[in-house]
Amino acid sequence: MRQQSVQDLAILGLLTALVAVATMAITVPVPATEGFIHMGDSMIFLAAILFGKRKGAIAAGAGSALADVLLGYTHWAIPTLIIKGLMGYMVGAIANQENEEVMNTRNIASLIVGALWMVGGYFVAGGLMKGSFAISLVSVPANLIQGIGGAILFVPIGVALKRTKYFQKYILK
């Protein structure tokens, strides 16, 4: 008679915290783009690919926005909420959660789409905020590195987690 909803809520909260912690705790600052390379995107890929689009979207958006606020990049919080939220949703929707192999075609496609969307999203948001898309272009290389890095970092961890039996009862519930 355990309430599924309470369990889901707790899992979502922890996933969100994980995304925020990964974004904040392991970072390499890149001053030129006013950003940083961090593990947050890998965590988003994990959340979305292992737990589906709904959880992926909420944890990605809320977790990343929280990290922005806590790190003092408050003005980015709203764009981040939208960009990362949609990123989580798209990755979760494209990915194939049933497949035992983590590196299946749909998952790889979801990684690419997710990373590109993130880069594009920040490019547009930056352009709007700074009034010039040329300036926003400056942030593209770093975000690209961030996105690709996040996707690469996801792979071994995704594989390892999917193999961990303890975990399987949670995945896509």
């Binding site: 979502l12 909260g13 969100t16 990964a22 001053p31 006013e34 809320a62 408050t74 003005h75």
Partner: protein
């Protein structure tokens, strides 16, 4: 400081909208006055605010330079192939100011409001959307849990990292593939512990009779008072003025 978090969120939101609708320098005077008075009222030391801008210096400079040289118009200075125009200078100042005010306005919100109060405020603001199926309470509860566990997980990250370093793990060198692999011993235990925590937390919540947002009361109630009304009126006036500057 004492304003209702809902008020603060709405005012900040209005400020952002304001920053994006204006197109004349004159409008800035109003916004600057508004933000400045807000800073004064909040009693946050101005030094602290400026310190928050520090990491932005580079980006503001870049914004400024690119805007100067990339905007077509009347040339004023020529540096080889680079042409600075007066329109460019205008544009550069305009954008740099927007950026500074944007950062100041939003950080004013987070400096005066704890994340938990923000969550509370957002929950209340989203309440009317419940009718169209938006789970406002659940989202707020989830944010509370996330906020509650961020320090715990940060501490845990540090602990696991140290423990694996004691077993000879190396997190600090190597190419990206090697680093990716070296993070597995950190992230797998972190993930598993997070899920064990989620499990236990869910049980503890149920044991304390948690059953969703229905029929739940709150100890702390948000209350709007005169200050909030004043805030809204001022902001409303500001927005109207800004719209007016755009039309003339």
């Amino acid at each position: 400081h004492k304003l209702d978090p809902r008020t603060k969120i709405l005012i900040t939101f209005a400020l952002i909208v304001g920053l994006f609708i204006i197109d004349k320098f004159i409008a800035y005077t109003f916004i600057v006055a508004f933000v400045a008075s807000a800073i004064v009222i909040s009693k946050i030391p101005i030094k602290y605010m400026l310190k928050g801008l520090k990491p932005l210096r580079v980006i503001i400079l870049i914004t400024f330079i690119i805007n100067i040289f990339m905007t077509r118009g009347e040339p004023i200075i020529m540096l080889g192939p680079l042409v600075a125009t007066s329109e460019g200078l205008h544009q550069a100042l305009f954008m740099a100011l927007r950026l500074v005010l944007l950062v100041m306005g939003t950080s004013l919100l987070t400096l005066t409001t704890s994340p938990i109060a923000l969550t509370d405020g957002i929950e209340h603001l989203l309440n009317p959307f419940k009718r169209i199926g938006l789970p406002a309470h659940e989202l707020a509860m989830m944010m509370t849990i996330a906020l509650r566990f961020i320090p715990t997980l940060l501490e845990e990250t540090d602990k696991i990292m140290k423990a694996q370093m004691a077993r000879g793990a190396d997190f600090e060198s190597g190419n990206i593939i090697k680093r990716a692999k070296s993070l597995v011993p950190l992230l797998v235990p972190l993930f598993i512990s997070a899920f064990r925590r989620a499990d236990e937390l869910a049980m503890a919540m149920e044991a304390r009779c948690y059953r969703g947002g229905e029929s739940r009361t709150r100890m702390k109630q948000l209350k709007m008072d005169k200050g909030d009304v004043l805030g809204f009126v001022t902001t409303g006036l500001l927005l109207l003025t800004l719209i007016y500057t755009r039309m003339i």
